[in-house]
Symmetry: C2
Subunit: 257 residues, 2 copies
Amino acid sequence: MEGRMTSGTFSKPAARRDGPAAFSPLYRQIRDLLVQALDQGEWKPGESIPSEIDLAARFQVSQGTVRKAIDELAAEHILIRRQGKGTFVATHQEALVRFRFLRLVSQGGELVPGHSEILACRKVRASAEMARELGLHPGDGLVYIRRLLSFKGKPTVVDDIYLPASLFKGLNLQILKENEGPLYWLFEARFGVSMVRADEKIRAVAACTEIGQLLGVESGHPVLRVDRVSYTYGDRAVELRYGHYVTEEYYYRNALI
Amino acid sequence: MEGRMTSGTFSKPAARRDGPAAFSPLYRQIRDLLVQALDQGEWKPGESIPSEIDLAARFQVSQGTVRKAIDELAAEHILIRRQGKGTFVATHQEALVRFRFLRLVSQGGELVPGHSEILACRKVRASAEMARELGLHPGDGLVYIRRLLSFKGKPTVVDDIYLPASLFKGLNLQILKENEGPLYWLFEARFGVSMVRADEKIRAVAACTEIGQLLGVESGHPVLRVDRVSYTYGDRAVELRYGHYVTEEYYYRNALI
DNA sequence: TAGTGGTCTAGACCACGGA
DNA sequence: CCGTGGTCTAGACCACTAG
């Protein structure tokens, strides 16, 4: 009963005078094991993971410790708890997840679903900077995608997307055109790459003629430029996305908390 | 409400009884009581609140329940836990808090402290829309502030700020000019109004001549337009802020999580 | 050494969803 | 009805900070 998996088994007794703090509580180790299992596809987006009691048995810890591990993953929106039903792997099919990654809302504040049109898809080679951001080598293969997002028929966003070809083998124009629903859903369902978080850099720039034509505005018109790096389970960058947003009828919404 | 208290396993079921009808677990009621105490100024920004054990005694619940209440407030960055020291009320003096409300970073990604210059301060009357957003009546008194933020000597942000005059009695140009440090620090230290969260709407617009002159760019130059509504403890809107950002050397950074 | 928050456990019971 | 997550308690011990 007692002696089982007390904190001594996992945690490090003192005796570290200057090394980087090596102490990691049990629940965080469990959290990392869960992420690892997710990364390996043990449970897929939309599926349920085992119950807290089962996981507690599997990892030989108390239910409370498993709970705290899941709490963290739920706070990161990697897992979703549903009382009475179970705990599920988040999927970009759900509106709540989608709108975390597409912040455009109409003047009134409604979250408007958009229509996506694929304009291009081809293989390119990574520049030095792209390689650095994706943890690849310059010249490595990338899949380039250009797509136009429209809201209520109005062209609003042009995205230029770059993906590591090694992770998205076989991705081509036909697959993209056949796809219905969010791109990230295609990525997770067909290629096993789940986008979990992203960092964005936002600027105001003047539209070039090419972008202007696609968005139906004059060249020089102010547009939002949104540079995104997206990450999957292990904090691994797996997408670069350069977006141009027309913000006359929709705006980028952000909550500061 | 009553069902909440009848959860007979509690050794002290008679402890809490509060009125607001909706069902909410004990720890959330404790959370709300803590927010209420903060709102009434029982503990001021930068100060420590009582220990978990003391609070547990005060509210007649277990330490674990208090912990969970504090956990929520810490997640909202309203409280800050420091192991071995105590739990403290967040203050805008801290860099971590400031940078949650000022998202501009340099190209390299460093968080650069800026220099603030007050350009104007006067009393105005609330328009219908402003009144609606602040929960006031049209015509109610507001304090209007224009300030210029510069980074490394370069003018970068013009903010037009509107505050309910009733909450900021006596705020004038002199007080603003004497103030050193963040505006929000002045607000919380001198007027007892703590900004806890905010919503922002972001667009790309062309600079008008007036804004262009202040920011040192041509009229028509693309700038970020950031409309902010800020909230204090009870989710009460207490500030409108319309910002224009030049984004050539600095950009707005956002984390999608 | 004393006091704080942080971790972990064990057990009881509540709320919810579905068979 | 059962199984799920959600709440609450009680107690032991660990990690950190300060005097």
